[in-house]
Structure formats: structure tokens, C-alpha cells
Symmetry: C2
Subunit: 482 residues, 2 copies
């Protein structure tokens, strides 16, 4: 809680002394811009936008915030899908943008490591890795503008998790500014380190609620020199899993993506997304996109793909298949899969989900979701797309713009559909948020579906690291009465 004698102007003056006057922005329209989330669903506010230029400055700002009882919402590229980087508290707060911490501190190809500051844009890190003939494998729709600090704080997923794991698997070390402004310097570049608790794990996926990630030492992988991309069509999710099993036998860990697209999602993409066309003569219920790659230039991966898909075609497991013969064809196939948030807004009102279940439960999950949602809303367009190799299906339920009388009616329907999908996921041992995190959007649903003991344990961790609740307040957990 703020001190009784809190005066914003005194406080901001002290902040200016730390970061410089020009990096404390109090212009209302600029605050409004950055205090609105990527999807435009949340509109927050803050005393100021503060843009520190170094870890020491982050520390200095957070120390002042702790002293004055001011909350801090850290923000990277503001591309998150759950309102996790939007300042939505009624307490005095600042919005801390990390974009000026954008140095690549070190790249070491021998160590397969890169050490970067939190504000580095993901695509720039990918490029820095490629510059030393390495791969930084995290890849997702927003890679051109999202920042690595946000990727770490949300344990970002994307299209190569199957092979390389999510963000957590790529972090070797972290530097973090804690709630009292002290700096945890865990920026080690070690493959193995069992010297006590692995504290960095606490901050990965914590969405800035336990501290502010300022820098990270990340793992690189061998650059991919040979690649093959294919798309197939098939009748069922079961068949997709059978093909997944065969694909693992053929490619081992070299499968980097195994993605599924349902027919209504494919129809949507073909209708709304520019530069897309149907690669097959016939339609099918499901499409699978497969990518495999390896470090060795000599590998005949396309040949291996043919050996995989030939028998699958002959045996009727897949009804048609296309192996990309050029980079342009690879890109054309990937365009059918990639994120289409903007197009959803044009097409209607959507409710998006990010569910995971054990890989083998996906046939049951997809059937139960379609049945459950259509029983409640027969006019819903239930689209599915996702990372079937990871057990992570995104269900997108689309309605015409005019379907609901007002926002309240839409929200009520969304709550109902959320509950249908969440209950199916939880019943199968799944998660209601596989890769997007909790932020603001998923708090109520998490509170409803999570074991209360597990939630209480999370709050205990939060209290231990941020006793005054100043770090990204009111995210992940619903506010409790004080």
C-alpha cells in the first residue's frame, strides 16, 4: 500500500534522477497506448512509463518503487495474449518498458550460448545466432516484435517446442531485479550446475510477478542445414497420432514441428489470409504440417519424408500428401498454419483457447470439445489448430459480429464455452493454458479449475519473494481481500 504522504511528482522526480528525464513518460496518450494490451481487450493506466537503460537503473527504479509503495508492471514487446503486461491495478503504479535493455552481451559459438538483455527482440537474437552459424530455436508468430524478457516471463512456446522444448529449456542463466530492488545475478552459462536451488526456475513463466528479468544466458543449437517440410491430409486425429508415431521412428529428434489444422480453420485461413491457397485437390477433415531438419548438409531428409509418406498414402492413413520442393513452397505451407489474430477480428467475435492434454488424449479432447460447444451453441464455428506433437490444441470459437446483443451477452457465452472446454481439458489431466500464460485473462478460469492447495502454494512463493505485492500486481492470481 502506498505511503500516506505519497506524492506522484516527488516520486517521479526521484525516478527521473535514476533514468533521466526523457525516459519518464507521463504523456496520457502514450501511457494509454502502452497500457492497452495487444488484443485491445484491456485498458490500464499508470503514473508514468519508465524506460531504464541498464540493470542498475532497473534496480534503482524498483528500490524507489518499494520505498514509495508503488507497483511495477514490466513490459516487453507487449505482444502477450493474456493481458499480462498491462497495468490494471488501482494502486499507484508505473509501467516499466524494458526496450532500452537491448544489448547482446556475448555470443559464444563454442559454448553454444548467447547472453542477451531482456529488451532484445526475439528475431534479433535469432539473427545473432545465425550470424555465428547457430540456431536460437524459439520461434513464434510475434518474433519480429516480442522481447526475450517477455518470452522468458511467459515461458513462451511456439512451433519448435517438440524438438527444443519451450523457453524454460533454453535458459541457462538469468539476471533478475527482485521486489526490493536487489539484483539476483544468476547469469551463468553452465550446462550443469547443482550448487543449491536452481533459483532462476522461479522467474521463468512467473510473468513478472516475482521479479523483473533483466538479462539471460541462453542455449543455442546447431544451425539447420537440411530441411524438409510436408503437409498431409487425413480423416481423424487418431490417424494424425499414428503418423506422428511413424514420423518419430523415421526422424527421431529431428522432427521440429508436427502441427495440426482442422478443416474449418483451414477454410477460414483460405478465405481470410492473404497469399494462401489450397495445396490439395480435395478437402479433408484434418491437415498435418511436418517439418524435420538437421545440422548436416548432406542429409537426404526429403528422401526420408518420401519413405515415410509413401506407405502412409498407399495404406490409406493419409489421403493426400505434398512435400515442399522449394523454399517458396515451404513458406506457402507454413502460411496455412501461422497466427491469424488480425483476421479473426475482421471475421467476427472469437473466443480463443490454449489447451494442452496428454498427446494420446487429443482425439477424445477434440471430439468432446466439438460436441460440447455445438450442443450449447449450434451456430458456433469451432476451429482447431495447434501443436499436436505437444498435445497443445488451440480451439477458436467464432461467431458473427452481430451474434450477441452486447458485450455482456458475449462475455456470458464466453464464460460458458470456457467452462465447457476447461472441464474437458482438466478431466483429461490437461492444462487450460499451455503456452500463453495466465496474465489477466485466465485468472478466473485458473482459480476455478486449479487445485486450491496448488494455488495456495503459488501464493506462498509469491509472498516469500514479493511480500508487498508490488511486482506486476493482480496478475496470475485474482486479488484477495486484504
Amino acid at each position: 500500500m502506498p505511503a500516506v504522504d505519497f506524492r506522484a511528482e516527488d516520486f517521479l522526480g526521484r525516478i527521473q534522477a535514476v533514468v533521466g528525464e526523457r525516459y519518464v513518460v507521463t504523456d496520457a496518450s502514450e501511457i494509454d497506448h502502452f497500457a492497452t494490451d495487444h488484443r485491445g481487450r484491456y485498458h490500464g493506466t499508470a503514473l508514468a512509463i519508465v524506460r531504464p537503460g541498464s540493470t542498475a537503473e532497473v534496480s534503482g527504479v524498483v528500490k524507489l518503487c518499494a520505498e514509495h509503495g508503488v507497483a511495477v508492471t514490466p513490459q516487453g514487446g507487449n505482444t502477450g495474449l493474456c493481458g499480462g503486461a498491462t497495468p490494471l491495478t488501482n494502486r499507484p503504479s508505473i509501467l516499466m518498458r524494458l526496450d532500452r535493455l537491448n544489448r547482446v552481451r556475448e555470443v559464444s559459438p563454442i559454448d553454444d550460448t548467447i547472453t542477451v538483455e531482456a529488451g532484445c527482440v526475439l528475431a534479433d537474437i535469432q539473427a545473432a545466432a545465425a550470424g555465428v552459424d547457430r540456431l536460437f530455436p524459439l520461434s513464434l508468430g510475434a518474433e519480429g516484435s516480442c522481447q526475450i524478457g517477455g518470452n522468458i516471463s511467459t515461458n513462451a512456446g511456439g512451433i519448435a517446442v517438440l524438438r527444443y522444448g519451450a523457453m524454460r529449456s533454453l535458459v541457462l542463466g538469468l539476471e533478475v531485479v527482485l521486489a526490493d530492488g536487489s539484483v539476483f545475478n544468476g547469469l551463468r552459462r553452465l550446462r550443469k550446475d547443482n550448487a543449491g536451488y536452481d533459483l532462476k526456475q522461479l522467474f521463468i513463466g512467473a510473468e513478472g510477478t516475482l521479479g523483473i528479468v533483466t538479462a539471460a544466458a541462453l542455449k543455442l543449437s546447431p544451425a539447420i542445414k537440411s530441411r524438409t517440410v510436408a503437409m498431409v491430409q487425413m480423416a481423424s486425429v487418431e490417424d494424425a497420432l499414428t503418423l506422428f508415431e511413424r514420423t518419430r521412428k523415421t526422424f527421431g529428434e529431428r522432427i521440429s514441428s508436427f502441427e495440426i489444422i482442422g478443416s474449418s480453420y483451414m477454410d477460414f485461413v483460405l478465405k481470410y489470409v492473404a497469399n494462401t491457397s489450397m495445396p490439395f485437390e480435395q478437402k479433408a477433415d484434418w491437415y498435418v504440417l511436418i517439418e524435420a531438419g538437421e545440422a548436416n548438409t548432406g542429409a537426404d531428409l526429403a528422401g526420408a519424408m518420401e519413405e515415410l509418406l509413401g506407405p502412409a498414402l498407399e495404406g490409406g492413413l493419409v489421403s493426400d500428401a505434398i512435400i515442399a520442393g522449394s523454399l517458396a513452397q515451404e513458406e506457402a505451407l507454413w502460411r496455412l498454419r501461422h497466427g491469424v489474430t488480425g483476421e479473426f477480428k475482421v471475421a467476427g467475435k472469437t473466443m480463443s483457447h490454449d489447451t494442452s492434454v496428454p498427446v494420446s488424449c487429443q482425439p477424445e479432447f477434440t471430439q468432446a470439445v466439438e460436441k460440447g460447444v455445438l450442443e450449447a451453441y449450434p451456430d458456433a464455428n469451432v476451429m482447431m489448430v495447434g501443436h499436436i506433437g505437444d498435445g497443445n490444441i488451440h480451439v477458436v470459437v467464432l461467431f458473427p459480429h452481430e451474434r450477441f446483443a452486447d458485450a455482456a451477452a458475449f462475455d456470458a457465452a464466453a464464460d460458458e464455452i470456457d467452462a465447457i472446454i476447461d472441464d474437458i481439458a482438466i478431466g483429461l489431466g490437461g492444462s487450460i493454458t499451455a503456452e500463453h500464460g495466465v496474465g489477466t485473462s485466465y485468472r478466473k478460469r485458473m482459480a476455478r479449475t486449479k487445485d486450491p492447495f496448488e494455488l495456495a502454494l503459488m501464493r506462498r512463493v509469491k509472498a516469500a519473494l514479493d511480500p508487498d505485492g508490488l511486482m506486476n500486481p493482480e496478475k496470475i492470481f485474482l486479488p484477495t481481500a486484504h
Copy 2:
């Protein structure tokens, strides 16, 4: 602290009512046996050995311990190298053996998961995975007797970390009994789950100080169908790293091991370890053992290995090379590398280290260690062996049995040599315990070398989860005055 009216017999009677009389062992010689660590360096004691048969029984026992103020030291196969599973506290305590929790609860090849109880022996889990044509990749010297709960609690490493990561990377979900006896049920089998803090990470590598792992959902990998094993000899650690770089280009993620053996370690093995013989005509300063494997039966990995090593031989990077032509030859090469703890005891007095540094720093590390130790102790036999692909070198310093007048003189020398090696490691951004953990042995060295702020943060986590300090007391941290 125990209640003032604590009576061991009343307490143990209540424990018997939970687990059954026969599973509460108070026989002094049996307690003595299990309260002595694997290396025979620590001799502890306990009120009793308690062997619960289920998670509910673990919970019941821990609840009673919390009520009576009795500490709990959990123990798996008792194969740890740091005295982490030895009850060494002066407080009333029990030694909890998890060996009766030894069920494989579920194996799912489609999901690539296996769900096991904490007392399952590692080799049995490997066998269960092989039974469904999968690989559970954790592999280490003690695999025939160590238990998975211990592997998880120590974040075990071993010989395949390069490819598959350490234990932490293999854990999808955990079930843990906390200090008050409550059960954290995080036994999910999901590849992706960002629903709040990833609490299981807290317990991996915490050595039982935050709770007792009772079960785990683990990741499986494709079974290895083609394999190649080679050994080469070379003049320097730099050359080994050059070969490592080329090996990564050739095999990508298919390298499962890249291990180094120094000449004096090789001499030691050839002299003391049964069934070993020198595979080369000449001696060399360093030997590297390489293993690559893949899921595809058709792969010509031996051919790829020849293409890798041929030019290396011609160019003089390696002075000799042997590619195993049979399983027997593969095993013979691996025998030169595997753990030799027993033989050390026969040969003399040893001081063993488990250091990691960034991969590129290993030439500097090995040279500085040899120089530093030999300057202080010119008669020392400084042997080196380790996982060079992970930056993890084990330095073993050997002296003749009669070298030190008494245990105190040995301990003083060990402290001095520890400090020499630790300072070099820390100076290079390394860790003084890469894969063995802290337990009892490394506490003093960790307290000396670790950032006090980081240590304090670890204690804060400990206090949040185990406020009364009943979980494996006096491990990881040196006791503080109360």
C-alpha cells in the same frame, strides 16, 4: 525443535499405526547401515528407519513428524556422493526410505511418458521404457541401485546430458509431500503447461530439503536403433573442443556422449580396473570417447564417424582413433570411462571434484588446476575425467595412503586443494558442484564461494516451504545459530 514432552516411543507407536509395525525399524545395526553414506564418510543416526508403502503413508508419517517436531531425512538408493541422504542432525529425526514406493504407475508410448514412484530403481525404469520400444535416457554409474526419487532430488546428470539434458529436463510432473504432510499433486503428463508457477521445479535438485518427492511423470525418447562409439587420442583439451565442434556439425543432436579422459586417469584405470586394456599403440595426453545414436535402424552412423575422424587423423587433430566394430568393443571403450569409486579406495586417498565451467573455458580450467594443485602439492596425482561436452570435468587428486599423518592433516590438505580448484572454477563463471549436488560435503565450499545474496534467497525459499526446518535438515546450508 521437539516438543518438551517428546517421547520417542509414543511417537514411533503412532508412526507404526500409519505404516505397520514391520516398517518401523529401530535395530541399531540396521540404522547404522543406512545412516552411513555411500562413500563411508558420514555416520548418522535416527530414531528409526521408516518405510512407508504409499504416498498417503508418506503424508501420514510427515504429518506426525511435523506435529512432534521430528525431522525427516528421505533416502532412495543411498548412492549419492555428497552425504545428502544421511541423517546427521542432533535433533530427533527419522530416516525415511522410499524403497517400497516402487510401482510403475503407467507407461504410455504414444505420450512418450512413464509415471513412476520415487523408489523405482533407475535401471528398472530404463527397462520399462525399453519394453515399449522407448528410451529413458538418464544413465549413470549407480543406475542399478539408485532410485528415481534421489535422481530427481539431486537433478542427476550422467553420460547422456549432452543430448537429453539432466534429470530436470526429463521431469514432466511431480507428486511431493510437503513439510506439513500435505500433498502437492502435480503429476501431470503435459509437454506444455503455463497455468501459474511451475512449482515442480522447486523440488528438483532440492535434495529433499523442501519436501519429499513420492512420484514423477517422466519424458521418454525414441529408442536408439543405430549407434556408433569411437575413442580418439589427442594432445590437448583445445583439440578436443575443435573435434567437438566438428562432431556437432556431423551428428547434430545425435551425439549422446562426448567424454574426456586425461592420461593419468587412463593410467589409473588400466592399472586398477578389471577387464580394461589400452586400445591404442601409443599413449597420449588426452582421450575422447564419442557416442552417437539414432532412432532409425537404417542410419549409417559408423560411416559418418569415419568421415568425421578420417580428416581429423590426416590433419593431425587426433593422433589415433578407434571406431568400435562390435557391442563388445563398445563396452570395452566405455569401461575405460566409467566410475571407479571402489578402485580409488584401494589405490590411496582421493579428493574428488565435480566442477563445471563454460565449455570453452575447459582448456584454461584444466591447465590452471594442474598447475595450482601441483604447486601446492608436487607429489599429487592430478587425474581428470569428465563430460567435456557439458563443461563438466571431474578432478580427482590422489595421494598414497601413507601421505598424511592423520585424518586432520588430510582434511587440511583437502580444504586447501578444494579452495584452489573452486577459486579457479568460480573465476571462470563455473560451479563447484555440477551434477553431484551439495548434500553435506559441499556446504562449506558453497558457503565460501556463493554470492551471499543468492544463498540468502535460497534460505528464503527454504523458510517459505519448510518453516520449521524439518525436511532433510542441515543439508545444502550450513546450520545457523537459532
